[in-house]
Symmetry: C2
């Protein structure tokens, strides 16, 4: 291992004190140009790089933005559209802000001790992905908030709390998707929901039901899955295989279903594959709209109409807001204002829904 060059060696070569070396590298205080050049030359000669760990320690700041990801053994988490897009956006902002991105894997279901992530001092702020609205997770997040640790949830709203959040208008996106189907003449529109512990699943359902109520297809007080006809409500876990499973459940009812709105593209694709095995061709025998507008939506046959969610931008904004906060270093007074952003979604029309009537 190559020997570590410290500022001590640089100071000796340049004939100055270590404090001067430090000042030069941090652009602090008055500095004679001649002295500065001498130091920089010595540093270059010795190929000196400040020890980042020592800097972090002395500054009491890690220079890392933590990203907390759910850990499921053997699951290729980075290959999930949502995570990969958000991470790309975070990465973009981290790079632009001169921070590093430290990934932390948290085992879901296990005692979530979020605050220990901060107490180790290894991250200055945290983006939390895959959080769920359960009492224990809420309690853990409250502890973070009470401790003044800067964090941000993405795509997970915790109503009644003042956590930092970056979310998207899933309800509006869902509403527009279903209105699109209604405008094409479809009336018997089924809904394939994702896991209910995610707030965004509830948002999608709400948008679906609002559009259906406005079209007079549901009673005015319909609010929950239980208020839907059984043949119009299905549930998966956002995976393609759960979409294929839903196809088995849906197939017997397909005489009574004209269209399907699925809560994400993967389930839509799995559903299409499953129904194709029963001889039902998407876009011809039934209409289908996905959600997320992932790359996969563009490669299916026919290409999928889907609601585009700006996950990349969500990740980028969360990182930007957090890093602005910790970079400002303005810890004056009590709890700072929380930020909550809700980004627009957009329906991208492709060939999976023909005009019916």
């Amino acid at each position: 291992m190559a020997a570590i060059v410290t500022r001590k060696e640089v100071a000796e070569l340049a004939g100055v004190s270590e404090a001067t070396v430090s000042r030069v590298f941090n652009d602090v205080g008055p500095m004679k140009e001649q002295t500065r050049q001498r130091v920089l030359q010595a540093a270059k000669t010795l190929n000196y790089h400040p020890n980042a760990i020592a800097q972090s320690f002395a500054r009491r700041r890690s220079g890392n933005l933590g990203v907390v990801l759910p850990y499921v053994p053997k699951v290729h988490i980075f290959s999930t559209y949502y995570f990969s897009e958000v991470l790309s956006g975070i990465g973009e902002q981290v790079k632009a802000s001169g921070y590093d991105m430290l990934l932390k894997f948290r085992v879901p279901g296990e005692e979530s001790d979020y605050s220990s992530i901060f107490r180790s001092q290894k991250v200055d702020a945290c983006v939390i992905l895959g959080a769920t609205d359960t009492p224990s997770e809420r309690a853990e997040l409250k502890k973070l908030e009470d401790g003044g640790f800067p964090f941000c949830l993405i795509n997970q709203h915790m109503s009644g709390e003042r956590f930092n959040e970056v979310d998207a208008d899933h309800e509006g996106g869902s509403y527009r998707a279903v209105r699109h189907l209604l405008d094409l003449g479809y009336r018997d529109i089924a809904f394939l929901s994702g896991s209910p512990e995610f707030s965004n699943s509830g948002d999608r359902l709400r948008g679906y039901m609002q559009a259906m109520r406005e079209a007079g297809l549901l009673s005015a007080d319909a609010k929950a899955p239980g208020d839907l006809p059984a043949h119009l409500y299905y549930e998966g876990n956002y995976s393609r295989t759960s979409g294929m499973k839903a196809a088995s459940a849906m197939h017997p009812n397909l005489k009574r279903i004209e269209a399907v709105f699925a809560s994400n593209d993967r389930m839509a694709i799995g559903l299409m594959q499953g129904l194709r095995e029963y001889g039902h061709v998407p876009g011809r025998d039934y209409a289908i709209v996905g959600y997320d507008d992932s790359e996969a939506a563009r490669v299916t046959v026919p290409p999928l109409t889907s609601v585009a969610v700006p996950f990349y931008e969500m990740g980028r904004l969360a990182a930007e807001r957090l890093l602005r906060r910790v970079g400002g270093g303005n810890e004056t007074g009590g709890a700072s204002e929380s930020f909550r952003l809700k980004l627009d979604t957009k329906l991208v029309v492709r060939q999976s829904c023909r005009i019916l009537r």
Copy 2:
């Protein structure tokens, strides 16, 4: 911000010295059980967590595995199959080894100063993704090697060097793909290559040509793209859009092409989309084999025959080998043995190639 609890406070509460607190937490030396319990109780009472930055500093070890990724502004790098799979595998191993994963983005084309990544001491070892075989990159990697910094290349072979590498048998995978087409009766088999600066592009081409030579479809001394009939060689950059572009170039020649072997699934998919616009249906009018066996291969119509590359396992093994090395802390003597692994690839047959003859 919550006050930081240090071992000093724990020591006071437990009525022991700071060294004893340290010993308890590091399970070092003889320790009276009674004393140990007193310390642990005090730590729990104060909610003490060792400061990881201070630990890293004192240990002269960061506890981070660096992952170097190419940075291209606005490109959603995590959404690329190769990167996402490798990262998932690395993440799995990092979690298992009690390390953290620090992402570093490097601007390609820019002066690649890999060694500065190590000189900051912020990572103990590095996995390098997206490296290219250019003289300047080689020089930078040689500097790392000379400095004794532990790193590993993935999916990029640098012939003549002794760098740590984890690769896959692309030549063998390619060969088997083309043999499969030959076995189905196809003779006029075109090749859609990826960018030539990646070693694995050359591997794929070699496997293709070997199979074609053995079938007597190429002369015995054919070695380079120039030795191929022009209508059988195309080039893309591994993106879906470059595959669609290749479709335009290939379409006029489709009377003379029976099958296509594409260097990755994305280009295969783009090609299929492009040719479908000209009325050519994959699996019926021509056969096609992709590479990588990404998720997308499973959702196309028809599902794509593809060569499976264990990217996830490659990432996991690279991390395992590196972390074993730095964890062993055995820096005795000079340069340690480099490791080079080449994992098997496997042809996964689906419906994109019918029996021709």
